[in-house]
């Protein structure tokens, strides 16, 4: 296990190095002068020169890379071309909004997946199963940004129950925070719910066929208790890991949903950075998402190897 963990860790570090080269390349690949592009032609020459020096654009490329990655390791991702604030502080401001949306979306996804997946596994080839499979296919295919607009149309427009856009920090007003959170969370959670429904279904089906379930039934245990204590307990353990992967997807996958609901998260920050050609901010955001993604995958792989002793470490590479 330790050897597997170490190898998996080394692999992640290698991939991370590749990722950072690619993220660094964003600034190099932009046609023309990135600072000129961000500031426009009429920029004040002093500001221009200061930003150029701060970004180290006059150094040779390998030197720039080493400086950039060295700074990044200490949390210094440079300063925004637009506002002059540090990239780190801009990102830190946005984390709570994105995190609350992603966590709420995974809750929505589980609220859909666990009951629907279990019901369909308990009634294979019955109408419930058919309905679950149809809705998970639909949930995977529906464009989230369109679903968001439709929810706004019905719940904010026609019924007027919920706000159509915006965000209130939890610390300011928990009630308002929740009211603003509901529609974006449903929008972002549906596709993960669809994926997890399929997973729960196959996991419960597999669990139902196990010997200990048959034994529990044979000794006369009530059906509900068998389901709770023998089937679901086993079926839902791997859900922790798959749910983790979905959370990683959601953290980065909510970018368009944030756009629809004017949600001031990391995705919106990335879009604004693209629009205003604020490349240091874009680099910081992309790097952060990739790191989160890699970390969650690493943790999930290791957790899975621990939870399921059948996994052989030698064959996994």
């Amino acid at each position: 296990m330790t050897r597997y963990a170490l190898r998996r860790l080394a692999q992640s570090v290698a991939v991370l190095l590749g990722v950072s080269v690619l993220v660094f390349a964003i600034m190099q690949l932009v046609p023309g002068d990135p600072i000129r592009a961000a500031l426009g032609q009429q920029a004040d020459p002093e500001t221009y020169q200061a930003l150029r020096e701060r970004a180290g654009l006059d150094d040779p490329v390998p030197v720039q890379f080493v400086t950039w990655i060295g700074n990044a390791l200490t949390g210094d991702f440079g300063v925004s071309f637009r506002t002059g604030e540090t990239v780190l502080s801009l990102i830190a401001e946005r984390v709570p909004a994105t995190l609350s949306l992603a966590l709420a979306a995974i809750v929505v996804a589980l609220l859909i997946a666990i009951p629907l997946g279990t019901l369909s596994a308990l009634n294979p080839r019955k109408p419930v199963d058919w309905f679950a499979s149809l809705s998970s296919q639909a949930g995977l295919s529906v464009p989230d940004f369109w679903l968001g607009i439709m929810l706004i149309l019905v719940f904010a427009g026609t019924l007027g129950w919920l706000p159509s856009a915006g965000y209130t920090p939890l610390t300011e007003s928990p009630g308002d925070w929740l009211r603003h959170l509901i529609l974006p969370a449903i929008t972002a959670g549906v596709s993960s719910g669809a994926i997890l429904t399929r997973f729960v279904r196959s996991s419960v089906l597999e669990s139902l066929g196990q010997d200990h379930v048959r034994t529990a039934r044979a000794k006369g245990m009530r059906a509900r208790d068998v389901l709770t204590w023998h089937v679901l307990r086993n079926a839902l353990v791997p859900l922790v890991t798959v749910g983790g992967v979905q959370l990683a997807y959601l953290l980065s996958g909510v970018v368009v949903v944030e756009y629809v609901f004017a949600w001031p998260g990391l995705g919106q920050l990335a879009f604004q950075a693209v629009e205003s050609r604020d490349y240091p901010v874009l680099q910081g955001a992309v790097l952060l998402f990739a790191v989160i993604f890699l970390l969650v995958n690493l943790v999930v792989d290791l957790a899975y190897a621990r939870l399921d002793p059948r996994i052989t470490y030698r064959s996994a590479r």
Binding site: A138, S141, F145, L196
Partner: protein
């Protein structure tokens, strides 16, 4: 499995038949768009702006008085073209990488697969946005961006299948008979790894069309005045309370198209590659 047998198995159930029929209608619509559209999709008519669905305009008109039905019809061509070219790029690049990595193994495999791991580490939508930030917005660049994003998945799937056929008796026989690498890859390896690639193509088409719509929705994909479903939704969002039809119909078009490709992909997987279905269901990873 022969093609006829595959088709017979594929169209056993009604869902695959319906999905295929929907796709045929869409492809015909994409080709005949101009002839089928009742109005000029870019002609503005401000006196008729924001009209609800009626006999004259089945899907209503938008904020510039353009016919929404005509724009949805012409949008089919944009969506399918961007989706098909993007998946074409990732198919060719990914299969080539996968064949080389799987067949030659050792350092070739290590280098190519670590590179694809790096690409895989970026969340899809963010990767596409970053590529478009460099290349600039537009439908051609969107095809390239989406193509890059989906290359690693084709590389991985192809590599995994090549690894399983590489040591088959017929490959070893060809090798000992003196066949060159190119001939072995082209005649013996590639034909035996196509099943999972076909399945992945259908599923990737669904996601590529969804990605194109999302990129156009945020203003990075297809540019005006070309009618794209994603752009129409972006325009419709601003009028959602006065003119629901502007946002509803293009969204339904995206949904139906993506659903058809997903359903067909699932049906293809059941027929061509039942083991992969099992693997995907237990890993929970489908996107």
């Amino acid at each position: 499995m022969r093609a006829g047998e595959t088709l017979r198995l594929l169209f056993r159930g009604p869902t695959a038949i319906v999905a295929a029929a929907v796709l045929v209608v869409l492809i015909v619509t994409a080709f005949l768009g101009e002839q089928l559209a009742p109005y000029d999709a870019t002609a503005t008519d401000v006196s008729n702006r924001l009209q609800g669905p009626s006999g004259d305009h089945w899907f209503g008109t938008d904020e510039l008085g353009r016919d929404v039905l005509s724009r949805v019809i012409l949008g089919a061509e944009v969506s399918l073209r961007v989706g098909a070219v993007a998946v074409g790029i990732s198919l060719v690049a990914g299969v080539l990488i996968g064949l080389l990595a799987g067949y030659y193994g050792r350092w070739v495999d290590d280098v190519l697969m670590r590179l694809s791991d790096v690409l895989f580490a970026f969340p899809a939508m963010l990767m596409a946005i970053a590529v478009l930030a460099i290349l600039g917005p537009g439908s051609t660049n969107a095809m390239i961006a989406i193509g890059i994003v989906y290359t690693p998945i084709f590389a991985r799937i192809t590599r995994a299948s090549v690894l399983s056929v590489r040591e088959e008796v017929y490959v070893r026989a060809a090798r000992s008979a003196g066949a060159g690498d190119l001939r072995i890859i082209g005649r013996h390896v590639l034909p035996n790894v196509t099943a999972p690639i076909i399945v992945q193509t259908s599923i990737s088409l669904a996601f590529a069309i969804l990605s194109e719509a999302a990129l156009s929705f945020v203003g990075l994909g297809t540019q005006p005045p070309d009618p794209s479903w994603g752009r129409m939704l972006a325009e419709g969002r601003g009028f959602v309370e006065q003119a629901w039809w502007m946002a509803v119909f293009p969204g339904v078009a995206i949904f139906v198209t993506v659903l058809a490709f997903n359903v067909l992909g699932d049906a293809l997987r059941d027929v061509l590659d039942p083991r992969q279905r099992q693997a995907m269901a237990t890993s929970g990873a489908t996107r």
